[in-house]
C-alpha cells in the first residue's frame, strides 16, 4: 500500500491510496459491509456507485461464518465477489459496543457473542490471524475502545494497553497487508498526543482516530479531531473510525482526515430517511403518497431515474425488500457524489466554499409544501 498526497487546501488533503486491488481517492468514504455484504446491495451495484473500498467487520465474520470458513473458500474478496480493496476493522469497537460481557486483561479480551452467548477470547495475535485469513488489504490493530466518560487514570491505562497490543499486532503483521495504528486517549489531549507519538514511533502504514463518537459531546469530538490529526505523519493516510455524519466529515476533512466509514447512509435508507440535495426526507410522510416526481430531481441514481416518491413511499409502507434496495442505492449515491464533489473542491482550492454551501443543506429536514 502506498499513500500519495496530491494537494492540500489549508489542512484539507487530497490524496490517493494505491493498493494492488485498485486506487482509493481520498477523502474517501468506505461503505460498510458488516457480514460480507453491503446491506441490500450486490457488489456490481457498489462498483457502479463508484465505491473504491469497502469496510468489513472482523468481529462479525469471526463469529459467523468464521474466518477459517472464508479462508477455505478463497478469502473475503472471492467470498463476497468484490475485487476492490477491503479494509477490516479489528473488532475492538464491536467487542466494546455489542458484547453483553467483556473482560479485559493484558493478554486480550474475553467476551460473549451477541449471536449465541458463546464465550470467546480475542488477542492481538488472533485478530491479526483473522484479518490475515480474511485477506483484507488494510488491517487495523486490536485496540481497547476507551468509553466515555472515562477518568484520566482509566484512559491512560487503556491507551497503554492499546499501545502494547499495537506492538504485538505489528509483530504478527501479515504479508501483503497494510496495518493501521489506532490513536486512543479518550477526551484528554495529552493522552491523545502520547498515544499518537507511541504509535508513530512504531511506523504504521496509516493512523486512525478511535474512541470518538462514543457518547461525548460533539464539540469535544471536534476538539479531539482538530488537536490530534495534525500530530499524525503527513505521508500516511488518516482515518476517523465510525464517523460519517456529513457535517462531521466536513469538520474532520478540514482538520486533515482522509478516510471515513459509517452505516449512516445504509441504515438510514432502510429506515426510510433519505438524503437529497434539498435536505433529508422521511419517505413515509403522507405528503409523498401521490407525488409523481423523483426523490431528488438533482440525482442521477437508478432510484431517482426510474421511480416516483409515491412508489418509494408505497414500497416503504409495504415493507418490501425493493424499498431497502432503492433507498440504499440512493443514499450511497448521495454519499459517493458528496465525496466526489468534496475532492473536486479541495483540488481547486474551494473547500471552505463547498463547506459553506453544503452545511445548510445537510442541516435541513426537507418537507414538500
Amino acid at each position: 500500500m502506498q499513500f500519495k498526497l496530491i494537494t492540500t487546501d489549508n489542512h484539507a488533503r487530497l490524496g490517493q491510496i494505491h493498493t494492488t486491488r485498485g486506487t482509493i481517492n481520498t477523502p474517501a468514504f468506505m461503505p460498510v459491509g458488516t457480514n460480507a455484504t453491503v446491506k441490500a446491495m450486490d457488489p456490481d451495484e457498489m462498483k457502479e456507485l463508484g465505491a473504491e473500498v469497502l469496510l468489513s467487520n472482523t468481529y462479525h465474520l469471526y463469529l459467523r461464518p468464521g474466518h477459517e470458513v472464508i479462508k477455505e473458500v478463497g478469502g473475503l474478496h472471492r467470498f463476497m465477489k468484490w475485487d476492490g480493496p477491503i479494509l477490516t476493522d479489528s473488532g475492538g469497537f464491536q467487542v466494546f459496543s455489542l458484547s453483553p460481557l467483556r473482560k479485559i486483561s493484558d493478554e486480550g479480551v474475553t467476551f460473549r457473542s451477541h449471536l449465541d452467548g458463546s464465550l470467546h477470547f480475542l488477542t492481538p495475535e488472533l485478530v491479526m490471524e483473522i484479518q490475515g485469513a480474511l485477506g483484507a488489504d488494510i488491517a487495523m490493530v486490536f485496540d481497547e475502545c476507551t468509553p466515555y466518560p472515562a477518568t484520566r487514570e482509566y484512559a491512560l491505562k487503556s491507551l497503554k494497553l492499546t499501545t502494547e497490543w499495537a506492538k504485538r499486532c505489528l509483530e504478527a503483521k501479515n504479508e501483503n497487508q497494510a496495518l493501521f495504528g489506532i490513536v486512543q486517549g479518550g477526551v484528554y489531549k495529552d493522552l491523545r498526543k502520547q498515544s499518537a507519538e507511541e504509535l508513530i514511533e512504531m511506523d504504521f502504514d496509516g493512523y486512525a482516530l478511535g474512541g470518538l463518537s462514543v457518547g461525548e459531546p460533539k464539540e469535544l469530538m471536534y476538539e479531539m479531531v482538530n488537536y490530534t490529526t495534525p500530530l499524525l505523519p503527513v505521508d500516511r493516510p488518516r482515518y476517523l473510525m465510525g464517523i460519517g455524519d456529513l457535517l462531521d466529515v466536513l469538520e474532520a476533512v478540514s482538520a486533515g482526515i482522509d478516510m471515513f466509514d459509517c452505516v449512516m447512509p445504509t441504515r438510514n435508507a432502510r429506515n426510510g430517511t433519505l438524503f437529497t440535495s434539498r435536505g433529508r426526507i422521511s419517505i413515509k410522510r403522507e405528503e409523498f403518497k401521490k407525488d409523481p416526481g423523483p426523490l431528488d430531481p438533482d440525482c442521477s441514481c437508478y432510484t431517482c431515474r426510474n421511480y416516483s416518491r409515491a412508489y418509494l413511499r408505497h414500497m416503504f409502507m409495504s415493507r418490501e425488500i425493493l424499498s431497502m434496495r432503492l433507498n440504499t442505492m440512493h443514499n450511497l449515491q448521495f454519499y459517493m457524489e458528496f465525496f466526489r464533489r468534496l475532492r473536486e473542491a479541495i483540488s481547486s482550492g474551494r473547500f471552505e466554499q463547498f463547506r459553506k454551501e453544503q452545511t445548510p443543506v445537510l442541516k435541513n429536514n426537507f418537507h414538500e409544501g
Copy 2:
C-alpha cells in the same frame, strides 16, 4: 389481446398471447408481484430473467396504496416501472384467504382489511373499476372462491353467484383490457361443467380454473383439471390460478392449461429452499458451510455464476437482504428455464418424455454426500 395456438402435443398446447405490451409464450409462468413488486427483484432483473408477464394483486393494491393513487401517478406499469404485460387477479381469492371476516351477498362482499381491520365492500363493478385504474392488460372477473370442503348445495349456489358476477364484470369491462372468466364448481364435475358452459356463453377473452388447491386432495385437483380443461374453447388461453408446484404444472399442461402463477419460487427462495437440476436444496444445511461450488453447476443465473454455496448459506444465516435477492433470482431463473424447456418439448412433440425426465428431479430433496 389475441391468442394464437401454435401446436399441440396430445393435449399439451404451445401458444402465444399477443398484447399491445408484448407477447407471452405459453405455457407461461407469471411471477407474482403482489404489492407492485416481485419481492426482492427489480423490473430490469425480471426482464433479464425472461419474464414476459407479471401478476399483481387487486386486493392488495386496492388496500394499499389504493388504486386511485396508482391511477393518479400514471397507472401500474409506470408506477412499478414494468412495461410488459400485467395480469391482475380480481381479489376474490384474497378476500377468501386473507380477510378475518367476509360476508357475501348477491351485491358483493363485505370484508375486513388484513392490514388495519377497516371494513370494505367489493362488488363486481368496483373490482372492474380498480383493475381499470391499475391499467392491467388482462383483468379477471370477481368470483367467489368456493372453499373445500363444500356441500354440493353450497358449491352450486356459489357458482351461480360467480356467474352473475361474471355478467356484471363483462358489462363493466374496461376498454383495451382483456377479461377472463373464472370457472368454479368445487370438486363437483357437473358443476364445473355448468360453470364452464355459462361462462363460455358470455364469450370471455380467456378462461381460468379457480377454487383449486384450496385444501382438497391432490388427486381431486388433478381430476377437476383433467375434466374441466377440455371443456374450454380451444382458441382461448386457459389459466390455472395460483398453482405452480412444477409437478402440478406438468399435470395441468398435459390437460391443456396455458398459464400459471404462484409464489412458490419467490417465497421458497426467501425461506432458503432452492430448486436445482438435482432436486431441492435447503441452503441452511451445515454441509454447505464450506462448500466452494455454485448452488447449481447447470444453472447460468447471476447467483450461480458468482457465488458459492458457502456464501449463500452465510447470507441466509445472517438474514441478509442479499440472501433473498440471490435466492429469488435463482429460483425464478429455474422456473423460467423450466418453462422454456417445457415449451421446446411441446414444440418438438417430446412433452411426455420431458415430463418423465423431470418428475424424479422435482420429487428429489438433494443432499450433498
